[in-house]
Subunit: 326 residues, 3 copies
């Protein structure tokens, strides 16, 4: 699991004590259990619980052992997601609570108080708070935002926007692509630009990745959107928040991958494929062009169609239909 | 129906008298009926007939009562679309006539005589003829064109192009998105960049709309392309000219909506959906990801597949096919 | 077949003698036949063999007569692709050899040694090594790269990136579009940004073409990606390397055309269509929206569905399914 220093990207407005947060949530709290009052330094997820952090339990997780020295505040809707050895606050609407708390703690580029400072260097706007290796090249009309780190030998072409991202070495990003923009996360009960869930994760692009032109890769909500080593991404590809893509993956043009989906290593994805959210695509899978993948795919499968099925079955079906229609 | 001052976006070259226009069209006019010679100030549509305007009747409309004091010139191809109480000119090729007249009257950004003046403010090009509320934020490498109005508390991110648009309050528009560009309108008989129908409408984006990155929203041809309040639009979405989208609509990534289609309120559209032009999607409709919607959808329906059908029927069909292919 | 001066776009690092190249390839050469040692000035393809050039034979071509005065070096993997009247080098991995040689000879924008020089003119970055007719208009935040030629009366809107392209006259290119970026070509055996096949072809856009916003058109690998006269392209369209599009073609929004495919004249392509690579679509073909075209289409056909079939058969199938599911 990749870690990063959130504050480099999303400045902390205030380090709240739990007791202070508890006051803010006072009117919407159903029940609370505060064992120790500590200063919240970060947000974390059940995947990597961090000390002095706040954790939202949207569903039941297998959190067996909480190190008693770990200061963690859990926020959830269901009593059975937590136990009395935990600090917790139970609320009715966890989405609303997430928005209130995150917007109180963090600045991000969907809030009005977000701030960055730029220098206009060689035709692009470079944040004073980013790091670009001197052996990397940045084209014209780019924006490289605060906290961004770009390693050695990267080629960032023109009109590229990179925010909230760590770009390792030898990465190529082509023209008019957006990296690290806002994930499409909100409650269907509360729409509107001001109700978008604060997205305080990043994009992490590993070594030797190639990304085409006019693509859009959203940052993680809390953790990362990850693109593995040597992965090749064509033009006009959409990668949603929290997607994890393995090493040596090929993704052809106009494909879209919805939030939190995982692709293994050596996966090949044709053009105009859609992959639904929150599923797993195993290693060495091949997904034929224009497929719609709606559920987990076992490793080394070859699938086609919508909903995507084994390509042999799909071809059989197509041939059958052809006969019948003649 | 939303109104706007066209001249703020599309400067008028000359206010023609009908008699002058009649001269220009002399060689292609089949029949004409000029009751009163007035100066043409605008173009309008049967939806909202405006005084001192020119109206193209591409098909029969139910124009029963024309206020006799209203100065309107109708241009059409069919005698039965009009009557003798109307000013009219009948032509053979209404598309060609539309192009000749519109290009004579209006400047627009697909004609060479279009002109705008910019100031380079804080890394973006801002027209001297636009209005941006001081409580809104504009990122870097943006272009805000003439006539554009951006209300309070908007966040326009980076590399965004906004032309021919009214953006209300609390709207977020993410990086590399284009708002207000040219609709894809022309006659199949006369192709070529110089034969594109002049698009002299605007985009109107209502309060609290969120628009993702790398999207493209075309302006109306004569009236508006409208995005209703609280509507949430993901990345790489294509919205064609004259589309009307209701309030509280959700549109996921890579979806495309063709020209003049209307979506009601509270509609949810999955990713990679295509919706054909000139249809109505009722309130509270849910359109499953990767659907192709080819005809009107009744309110509160849930549809899937291509062509999109009731999702229960679609699922039945998928299960049947699965059995048969085993 | 359109010709262009490659060196204007891709500076030559060194004009190698065949004997020098042969040394570079020494360790990976299986067999070679050098009849005459000449200086390599260019790369060409079997379509138009050029004097003093290097030619990669990825498959068998019908090269009957080689003018003995033509200096050509063939590189291939199979002995039966060549004969002893040819200069040739046989290697195991032609992709790897292509990369080694092309990267030795040419600079291109995916290599770190690529260099261009810009002037910031009227809000856009204009290469000192490009030509723009003074009657053409360039918007703001554009980049026009080295070698690019833009003819009379073109309208290039804003945030457009044009590299490695020849744009003829009266062409319109809308906002946030990328022309001439890198084709998605590489060997599946060697992924990673540094293993992308050098793309040293161009995009050639003929007179009166209209291209919408947020599109991406990749340059040819060695020859051209060509868009014919009067062709109309909507928004968010993806056109891959070496695609040849005829005259008077219409391509609606979000369609993607994979590499090396040819479209005839007067073809109409609906929205969200996918067309696979290396196929031919005849003149006057109509491809219905959301189709997936997987094989050659005869001229004047009308097709729909995925895989695309005759539209009458497709409609029959849809009606049948409707009955069965009721």
């Amino acid at each position: 699991m990749i870690d990063f220093n959130r504050e480099e990207f999303f400045p902390i407005k205030k380090n709240f004590l739990i007791s202070e947060l508890s006051n803010i949530l006072n009117k919407i709290t159903i029940k609370q259990n505060i064992l120790n009052d500590f200063k919240i330094q970060d947000i974390s997820t059940p995947l990597i619980l961090k000390n002095n952090s706040i954790v939202f339990l949207f569903s039941k997780h297998n959190i067996k052992i909480i190190n008693p020295r770990k200061n963690i505040l859990f926020i959830t809707t269901h009593e059975d997601f937590i136990n009395d050895q935990m600090n917790y606050i139970i609320v009715n609407d966890i989405n609303q609570t997430y928005n209130i708390i995150l917007n109180s703690i963090f600045c991000h580029d969907d809030s009005e108080d977000y701030h960055d400072e730029f220098e206009f260097i060689n035709g692009s706007h470079i944040s004073k708070f980013c790091y670009i290796d001197h052996e990397s090249k940045i084209g014209k009309n780019c924006l490289i935002g605060r906290g961004v780190r770009i390693g050695k030998n990267c080629i960032i072409k023109n009109n590229v926007v990179i925010k909230n991202s760590i770009i390792k070495e030898n990465v190529t990003i082509c023209d008019n692509t957006t990296i690290g923009s806002t994930g499409f996360g909100f409650s269907l009960k509360n729409l509107g630009s001001n109700n978008i869930n604060p997205q305080v994760g990043i994009v992490y692009i590993d070594n030797y990745v190639h990304i085409g032109s006019n693509c859009s890769i959203d940052r993680g909500k809390i953790d990362v959107t990850y693109i593995g080593k040597n992965t090749m991404i064509d033009n006009l590809v959409h990668i949603a928040h929290n997607v994890i893509i393995g090493n040596n993956v090929v993704i052809a043009g106009q494909t879209g991958i919805a939030g939190s989906t995982k692709l293994g290593d050596n996966v090949i994805v044709g053009g105009q494929v859609g992959i639904t959210g929150h599923i797993n695509v195993g290693n060495n899978v091949i997904i034929s062009a224009k497929s719609g993948v709606t559920k987990n795919i076992k490793e080394s499968s070859v699938v086609a169609g919508f909903p995507a099925i084994d390509i042999k079955l799909w071809k059989k079906k197509i041939i059958k239909e052809k006969y019948k229609n003649k």
